[in-house]
Amino acid sequence: MKRLLVFLIVALFGIFSTQSFAKDQILIGFTTSLTGKLNAESKAQLQGIQLWVNNVNKNGGIYVKSMGKKLPVALKYYDDESNKERVQQLYVRLINNDHVDFLISPYSSDLTATAAIIAQQYGKIMISTGAAADDIFAKGFSVVYQMYTPASRYLTGALDMLKKYDPKAKKVAIIYEQSEFAKAVCDAAKDYAQKHGFNVVMFEAYTPNTTDFSAFLNKMASLKPDALIGGGHFADGETLAKQVYEQKMSLKLISLIVAPAVPKFKEIGEAALYVTAPSQWEPEATYSPENAKKLKLAYYGPSVKWFADAYRNTYKQEPGYHAAGGFASALVLQKAIEETGTLDSNKIKQALDRMNIMTFYGQIKFAQGKYHGLQIGHEMVYLQWVKQNGQISKEVVWPLAAANTKLVFPYNIKFKK
């Protein structure tokens, strides 16, 4: 009897709740690191997503065929404080309490791996941006899709660059952050280096909150490497670059992931000079409808120039790849919704599975099968911080086909004045 009563109440509530929520918007949920060590990258990513929302809503929303009308989009996001436990709680909340339609990942591979578990447990589609680790996509997730070029293809270009500019340089030191992403990048880079005749003289990890690199640098100085590659995220990478400069390490090439690609990196001044970094996207990128036609791909969404200008006008900042990735992740959802004309998770999933398009951010195509969701279309570029007319700026230097300036080589040229 009691059971019946409870059942009735629950059922009644269920009926009312579905009726009272006539679908009047598309809700996208995620967490972002407004505070904590990942805040610099997260903020750019969030701004990218917000720029997309403003743009879509200015045109009245996304047309959903099954409902016969345009629905505006809304964001529901929380501050995860760069903290895994918060991510876990908040994604459960986004799904069960806020009833979001789709999820976007937090920033960083570690936080994304955590959020992906929740998304998969409840079967909600999640577009992962700001997460490059390959590993996440070898765990049998069927509803998670990656926007970034995976970590295994991140630093290999730096080694190609070194070989091209100084074929005799063989000694490489790899110092990386103990994080999902950096480890994936550096493991792959180490394999690649050894296969291509480099000598990896140092291969060491530092804990995520490291602020004092002197022990690493002392050790490195005694091993006399030609190049330093590695890094982790923004805060630690910036510190590492700064301490390399203070210790006047005699290196020919230094290439760090993430930090130098963030426009804020220039705050360390001279220490930023001649540091190189792989980047998912730069405003100088050459993706265009013509370019897409050559590759027999459909072009979708705004042009590179539109995005870069709109971003500059809205936020008075240079767009970096974190912002572009944020915008593109939402763009992918928009494309899938327009194509299928529904908000149904299953149909959206099918659309994502067969997606192969060109956008301002580059090509987008997701792997199927064992590594379901892994990004296999998108490519990296390399940038370097150089001084032009007394101003420090970042320019694309690799691959040579996409470069707009020549690499300044070697790095230690700046100490010889």
Partner: protein, 320 residues
Amino acid sequence: MQKGYTLFWLLPALIALVIYPIVTNNVMLRETVFLILLSITLSISLNIILGFTGYVSFGHIVYYGIGAYFAFYLMYAYKVSLIVSIVLGGLVSAAIAFVLGQAVLSLRGAIFAIATIGVNEAVKSLINNISILGGAMGLYFDFSIYDNYGGALKAIWLSYYLMGTLTILSVIAAYYIKKSKFGLGLFSIREDQDASAVLGIKTKLYKSLAYATSAFFPAIAGGIFAFKAGNIEPSGAFNLVKSIEMIVMVMLGGYGSVAGSALGALFYEKIKSILLVMPYVKDLHLAVSGLILLIIVQFAPSGIVGFLTKYFKNLRKVLE
């Protein structure tokens, strides 16, 4: 030994708490209650060494972490079933506590507290460097593991039932320990260790056993939590802040009392969740918890239970 009435109300109350989200099928509520149950288990267990025996185990979370890692690894690498893994995790953790206890329990007072912090930090940094345990990144389940439990959604419910069962068992165990001759021995160690030894209490054995018991339940809770989360990593498993929160819960409820530890955990979680969702206070929750703790320590050192029994003497038998 005279029996009190504590369990007569505490157990039904706990069971009602566990069942409520099941009956209403409310997922958000289940998540909240899961955390409350976890906290109750941790605080009840810590009370056995801290409240009964008087040893300030500051790094007690180390046993939660060891149990969690052990169970997770069994499931991850050897596909051992959930129940077997968590029970083994509990036993291993208790055994480690027993052996380690032989050494560290000879320290007293603040020195013991510092040593337990050292143990926790040492274990954490050791695991940071063990690559088969995933180092600082930790380990993630392959998602297919949940298929053995009827899919992820069912697996989460399963971990909820297990946590409920564990909490109830830990409350019963703590209560009967307190009421036993063993418990009496522990309390006499707390009052005067040297005198107890003279009176023929095997202080070393008693302390080590209490320490092992207080490591057993948190270890199992760690295993369940890791299973539900689907991943494990050192900074989450050996989080010193959580360790200190355990102490706060015990103090808030009333040092030495089983009912008090449960109430303390409940109140602490409640206060925390209220503060966390209040818009402006969200960032101030740490400061407010600190203020509450400061007031308790300064003005009501025996916690909620101490406060109640001071004014209502009759409550003594119900709040043991």
